[in-house]
């Protein structure tokens, strides 16, 4: 039986995970190496909903890595299939509402999970119009109308 690590969310809820799964987080990996994980790891800035998703992500990626290693010997000519499957899983994984996506990004940054950080960052703004981004994130326009027109003119090609 593998070693278990206990995470505690901001609400105080405990989550038990395999050490291998916890090792996906660089921050936790450092703590495990320093042997200071006894009695659970409190994650004061990660709520339960986010933590559940983070653990899902780490689990899936640990499993995928193990499967890839097991199949390393007999790659067929379409060898990339597994990668494609994981990519598709990732794409589905980030189809969440914007607040959760935002929390996931902060958690990935805090726990240092590069894959999840890239994935969430990538999804955050991509393929959205300026108006949509302003609306979703409530970014306050600090340009005057004339200034905005100038910036738009400079980048007119991007709005073609």
């Amino acid at each position: 039986m593998s070693k278990k690590i206990i995470f505690e969310s901001s609400e105080g809820e405990s989550f038990e995970v395999d050490e291998a799964v916890a090792l996906e987080c660089q921050t936790i990996k450092n703590m495990i190496e320093d042997d200071c994980t006894d009695g659970g790891i409190p994650l004061a800035n990660v709520n339960s909903a986010t933590l559940t998703k983070v653990i899902d992500y780490c689990k899936k990626h640990v499993e995928a890595a193990a499967a890839a290693e097991a199949n390393a010997g007999d790659k067929d000519i379409y060898g990339a299939n597994k990668d494609i499957e994981l990519k598709t899983w990732d794409e589905e994984f980030v189809k969440v509402d914007q607040p959760l996506l935002f929390d996931l990004m902060l958690a990935a940054n805090f726990l240092i999970i590069p894959g999840l950080l890239d994935l969430t960052c990538k999804t955050m703004m991509r393929g959205k119009t300026v108006l949509q981004i302003r609306e979703i994130f409530h970014i306050k326009k600090d340009y005057t109308d004339a200034e905005e027109a100038e910036v738009r003119k400079e980048n007119a090609w991007a709005f073609e």
Binding site: Q26, T27, N30, A44, N45, I77, Y78, G79, A80, D83, D97, Q98, P99, F102, D103, M105, L106, N109, F110, I112, L117, D118, C121, K122, M124, M125, R126, G127, T129, V130, I133, R134, I136, F137, H138, I139, K140, K141, D142, Y143, E148, V151, R152, N155, W157, A158, F159
Partner: protein, 603 residues
């Protein structure tokens, strides 16, 4: 005081290091101007917040030098720093030695001064905790707003600018994946976002100013996170030897990382053995790819995928098929491809499947090099499986077969064909059942039957059409036909057939003059009798030689036979005077006309 500092034993807050208040006051700026200090920017180094004020870690003896923690991520340093502070506070019973910088106007120098402060464990926070707390605070202050829109949970429903509260590194992380176009759009969001990116339109190699290596190095050195390139074109006529291949590919990969949309490359003097980096075929941002001379594509990476590619231009590029058909592989990897241009094509130097298949292509322009010494293609057949194709410009030696011609959406076709004679035909003991031509355009002609606009260029095209005129399908939608030729004596046998099978043809444009026989109309046109039933309304003729009476005489047949003709336009060129043109026009007007509404214009 120094003894206290030297007693410290934390993993980060260790012997000789101090915690200094982050100050960005006017005094600091003065120091900076005099070059004595370094600019302190909170975001560049690890910091902790004590009672809400940020502190950075410094060495006692060099309080203005930034400490860098090579190999340890910022979050880890901050977490450990917090732990160290808390353990020290526990030992001292709540007190902690902190430092601040003070600038003395009399001595014009700044000093670092130590002071004691009482610290509660909950008053110590890492930056990540502060950001999280800021968000929560923001939420709390907007509780009412949240209540009023329950479904829209958390801060996003409220009017909180969540993203702008993030530190610059996080903003960069979010935007670094954006292609050039979206990055440029982001700059319109707010002033802060404008500063995030440097958008470069088109870095150019100026051959007078710098050499290839210098240019490649310059582009490769553009900072990756904050630069975006819209268009990149690498055109170089001089020799590129194998020693520079790695440099070229490094530069290409870098440009791809910078989100380039329009990528052009033409290396005239590239040595043999160069191959494009696989990253080129996995770009998520490329919208237009132009590959000129010097490229041979042998195999695509397995994960080849160009989701944004709309235009692909191949000029003299060659394909080989080490693993499946590399050319078809490239088309299959480009699901959004709209336009394909192949210039200076040489099928016989390509190794490919002979099938051009794309579900998204709208336009194809293909032009081949017609060389005199060429005596037979390697390819027996070419297929077009392009259900959305609207425009086909096809200039080629006609293949032996066109097994698949899936062109249901075709609107416009431009054909320049050249027929290849069957090599067996030269033989004196010719068996009777051997075709004269190796080329066979039957299925090609059937494939374009939906066209509305058709251009037939070159007398060589007429050769194929004359021989295969019985295979011309009914062109029910054709309303505009242009024929261009360079040999006035070459027969037009195909034309009566084509006109009979185009019941809805309204406009006919003839460039290069009117073909004629020794005595008036050439036999190949059977006295233009097909015109009597034609629906043609507009005929435009550019005369080959406007001083020749014979061509003018041909016009009589168009006027006298076309029942619905509304306009006859004759282009005479500059050879004859204006008066002469008017005289000819008057003469034409006096000729018998089948259509009373016909107007005549000479230009």
């Amino acid at each position: 005081m120094e003894s206290i500092i030297n007693k410290q034993s934390g993993s980060v807050l260790c012997k000789g290091s101090i915690l200094k208040k982050c100050q960005r006051t006017s005094s600091r700026l003065q120091i900076d101007e005099e070059g004595e200090g370094s600019t302190e920017t909170i975001r560049e180094e690890a910091h902790v917040y004590i009672n809400g004020i940020p502190f950075v870690l410094r060495e006692l003896h060099k309080p203005v030098d930034i400490l860098t923690h090579v190999g340890i991520a910022g979050v880890v340093v901050e977490t450990r720093l917090k732990e160290d502070i808390l353990s020290e506070v526990r030992e001292t019973g709540g007190q902690m030695l902190l430092h601040r910088e003070e600038y003395s106007t009399t001595s014009n120098q700044s000093q670092v001064i130590g002071y004691w402060e009482y610290i509660q464990p909950e008053g110590v926070k890492t930056s990540a905790e502060i950001y999280a707390a800021q968000e929560r605070d923001a939420l709390a202050s907007n509780v009412d707003a949240i209540h009023s829109c329950k479904d829209d949970s958390l801060g996003f429903g409220a009017n909180v600018d969540t993203i702008s509260s993030l530190p610059d590194e996080m903003i960069l992380m979010i935007v670094r994946f954006l292609p050039a176009k979206e990055a440029a759009r982001v700059s319109v969001l707010s002033k802060r976002f404008q500063k995030v990116f440097t958008i470069i339109q088109d870095p150019e190699l100026d051959e007078n100013q710098e050499n290839l290596r210098g240019f490649l190095d310059r582009v490769s050195a553009l900072p990756e996170l904050i630069t975006r390139i819209r268009r990149f074109s690498l055109k170089y006529k001089e020799r590129v030897d194998s020693a520079d291949f790695a440099l070229v590919n490094k530069c290409i990969c870098h440009v791809l990382k910078l989100g380039v949309m329009d990528f052009q490359m033409c290396l005239d003097g590239v040595e043999k053995g160069y191959s494009l980096p696989p990253e080129l075929f996995t770009s998520k941002t490329l919208a237009k790819l132009t590959l000129g001379k010097g490229f041979e594509i042998e195999a695509l990476p397995r994960d080849a995928f160009l989701p944004a590619l709309q235009t692909l231009v191949l000029d003299s590029a060659r394909f080989f098929s080490l693993r499946g058909c590399a050319f078809q592989g490239l088309l299959s990897a480009s699901p959004e491809l709209r336009e394909l241009v192949i210039a200076a094509m040489c099928w016989e130097h390509w190794e490919w499947s002979g099938i051009l298949s794309s579900q998204s292509l709208r336009r194809i322009s293909m032009g081949r090099v017609f060389s005199a010494e060429f005596d037979g293609p390697l390819h027996q057949s070419i297929s077009f499986d392009t259900p959305k194709l609207e425009y086909l410009e096809y200039s080629d030696l006609v293949a032996h077969d066109y097994p698949i011609m899936n062109l249901p959406a075709l609107q416009e076709a431009k054909l320049t064909l050249q027929m290849l004679v069957n090599t067996q035909w030269d033989n004196v003991d010719l068996p009777h059942d051997v075709d004269i031509y190796w080329s066979n355009p039957k299925k090609l002609l059937k494939g374009i039957r939906n066209v509305k606009v058709l251009h037939l260029s070159s007398s060589s095209t007429f050769e194929g059409l004359n021989y295969f005129s019985k295979s011309i399908p009914i062109l029910a939608d054709l309303h505009h036909l242009t024929i261009t030729h360079e040999d006035i004596e070459y027969c037009w046998e195909f034309l009566p057939c084509l006109l009979e099978r185009s019941p809805n043809l309204k406009t006919l444009i003839i460039r290069g003059g009117l073909h004629y026989g020794q005595d008036d109309v050439c036999r190949c046109l059977s006295s233009y009798s097909c015109l009597v039933t034609s629906a043609l309304e507009v005929v435009e003729v550019s005369l080959h030689d406007s001083t020749s009476r014979a061509e003018w005489d041909q016009l009589e047949h168009f006027l006298g036979k076309l029942p619905r003709l509304q306009l006859l336009k004759v282009r005479c060129g500059g050879k004859i005077s204006r008066e002469e043109k008017l005289r000819m026009a008057r003469e034409l007007c006096q000729l018998p006309k089948a259509s009373s509404k016909c107007k005549i214009v000479c230009t």
